[in-house]
């Protein structure tokens, strides 16, 4: 069953240097109870994709295509209707917990706020619910910690609090934008374990540049490069036998696989290379790659790739 479906999604916003085509063009499906990993490097448009689903971008941004959530197109909803979706149906866990939490409000209040915005209940009830949520993300002595301001929380604890805010209204879909960025190896492991637990009966779009984290938590992984998806497969398949040269290059640059870099650098989202957007950096590039833009093709069951080698 499909929970969220993106159809030909395009997101552009104007800047002084030109039109940034941050998402161009993405088709994607997230099933119920599925964890989909979206991996890509800085500036490939993956965060913008997440923000596009929530419709939380600057007013000058243009979003085209369809975002079908439970049968309705989110792009057709009014702002008031969208507000009812945010937090309650689709929640977001932002990157950088240090700045995403308000430093002058207690953590308990910030979680209660999220609950109270969507459900009619007294402040005391919201507060009790908040403590419950804090307990569910395994914050020690939640009754006490709910009354503390964020600066008393360590980096990992703040991340837990962020997850708690996301979970507060029991949403069906969670969009997590780089939740493990800047955390230590051991803290990261704990957070991933926790996220796995709390999303057992939920769907999640897990946006990250951390390949290890994605391998650990996701059911399906999509690789994004220069505004589009280049490969999408079940996690085991993608890491086991990657098909797209970019995915292969990405995996080979991991320290545990020999630190072999991809040459060149990511293109800007303002003007892409012609044809296949990866061809200037690709070892397998041939004449056609320069001229024609490849379409996504199905290679195996649930393994899609955008490359002429598999046509």
């Amino acid at each position: 069953m499909t929970l969220l479906k993106l159809k030909r999604l395009r997101t552009c916003f104007p800047t002084r240097d030109g039109l940034v085509k941050a998402v161009n063009t993405v088709d994607l499906e997230i099933g119920a109870n599925e964890i989909l990993g979206l991996i890509g490097e800085t500036g490939c448009g993956k965060s913008i994709l997440g923000m596009s689903i929530m419709r939380l971008l600057q007013p000058s941004t243009r979003i085209e295509g369809e975002i079908i959530y439970k049968g309705q197109d989110l792009l057709k909803l009014s702002e008031a209707e969208m507000r009812k979706i945010r937090g309650k149906e689709i929640a977001m866990i932002l990157q950088n917990p240090a700045t995403a939490l308000n430093p002058v409000l207690t953590v308990g209040d910030q979680i209660a706020e999220a609950i109270w915005l969507h459900q009619t209940m007294t402040k005391r009830e919201a507060r009790e619910k908040a403590i419950e949520v804090l307990r569910s993300v395994k914050i020690p002595s939640p009754e006490k910690m709910a009354n503390e301001c964020p600066h008393k929380f360590s980096g990992g604890m703040k991340e837990r609090a962020m997850i708690a805010i996301g979970l507060a209204c029991n949403p069906a879909l969670i969009i997590a934008d780089e939740p493990t960025r800047g955390l230590d190896a051991s803290t990261k492991e704990q957070i991933i374990k926790l996220m796995k637990e709390v999303t057992e009966e939920k769907s999640m779009l897990f946006i990250t540049h951390d390949l290890d984290a994605a391998a650990e938590i996701c059911d399906t992984v999509a690789v994004m490069y220069a505004g589009e998806l280049v490969e999408c497969a079940k996690t085991g398949d993608l890491f086991g036998k990657p098909l797209h040269p970019y995915t292969m290059g990405l995996l080979d640059s991991l320290p545990c696989r020999g630190l072999k870099p991809i040459r060149g650098m990511s293109p800007s989202l303002i003007d892409y290379p012609s044809g296949c957007r990866f061809h200037p950096r690709c070892d397998y590039a041939s004449a056609i790659c320069e001229k024609k833009h490849p379409e996504m093709v199905k290679v195996e069951d649930r393994h899609y790739v955008r490359c002429f080698m598999y046509l």
């Binding site: 800047t15 002084r16 240097d17 940034v20 941050a22 965060s47 913008i48 600057q58």
Partner: protein, 291 residues
Amino acid sequence: MTEKTIELTDLRRLWDTYSEKRIGVIGLVIMLVFIVMAVFAPYIAPHDPYELYNPMEPPGPDHLLGTNDIGQDILSELIYGARVSLFIAFFVSIVSGLIGTILGLLSGYYEHVGFFIMRIVDAFLAIPRLPLIILIAAFMRPSIWNLVIIFTILGWPITTRIIRSEVLSLRTRNYVEAARMLGAPDSYIMIKHILPNVFPLLVVRLVVEASHVILAESSLSFLGLGDPTAKSWGMILHYAFMYPTIYISDVWKWWMLPPGLCIVLTILSLMFIGYALEELVNPRLRGMTQV
């Protein structure tokens, strides 16, 4: 590309960011009008502001804003007044800005020096500004230069404190540490690596200080503590208020209102400029585009 063209595009970028705020452009236009008025006063003013005509004449073709109680042309007074007000404002803000920057740099960079300077700054900041100005002005002989000295003495501590707090943060930046690792002397680091990065903040501070000074000068002149021979806007107001029937006749419309408006407009334009400049200070908005 040559270096020159790059400098030009930088300026262009800066102007683009600045002009995005319409309010900043409005402020700049008003300020330019006043500056032109001040610089070219002898050419613009229809009369010599010290020359005596018929007293208390209402506005007419010869005297657009009428004359005052001793027969001086009010419009000309107003135009010459821009000179005094703006001169004091810019002179004070630049001098106190200079002192504040030097002391702010030193006190931010060297901890022990900073401790000492900050105690002096604290002492100055603890004194309420306007009452002290009134007190000093009352005891000193009223003249423009005395006003300049008083305002400078009271202006530098704030600048020092603002610059110092910025330097304290800049000092720990990696690029400053990297410069230290190159064996660069302290003076070099301060001038090359810290000063350019506090400069935007300083510009905003100068603008704000200028508007403070204009207001303070007008208040003092209005209270009769200004230079009685200088034609400042505050002084015009002062004489207007001393005129016995100012409130019951129509005279206030051309004698009191115009200098009051000039003061308000100047301060407003400085505030607008400062507001738009804040945008440039924010490095996230400068050069880079927001995502």
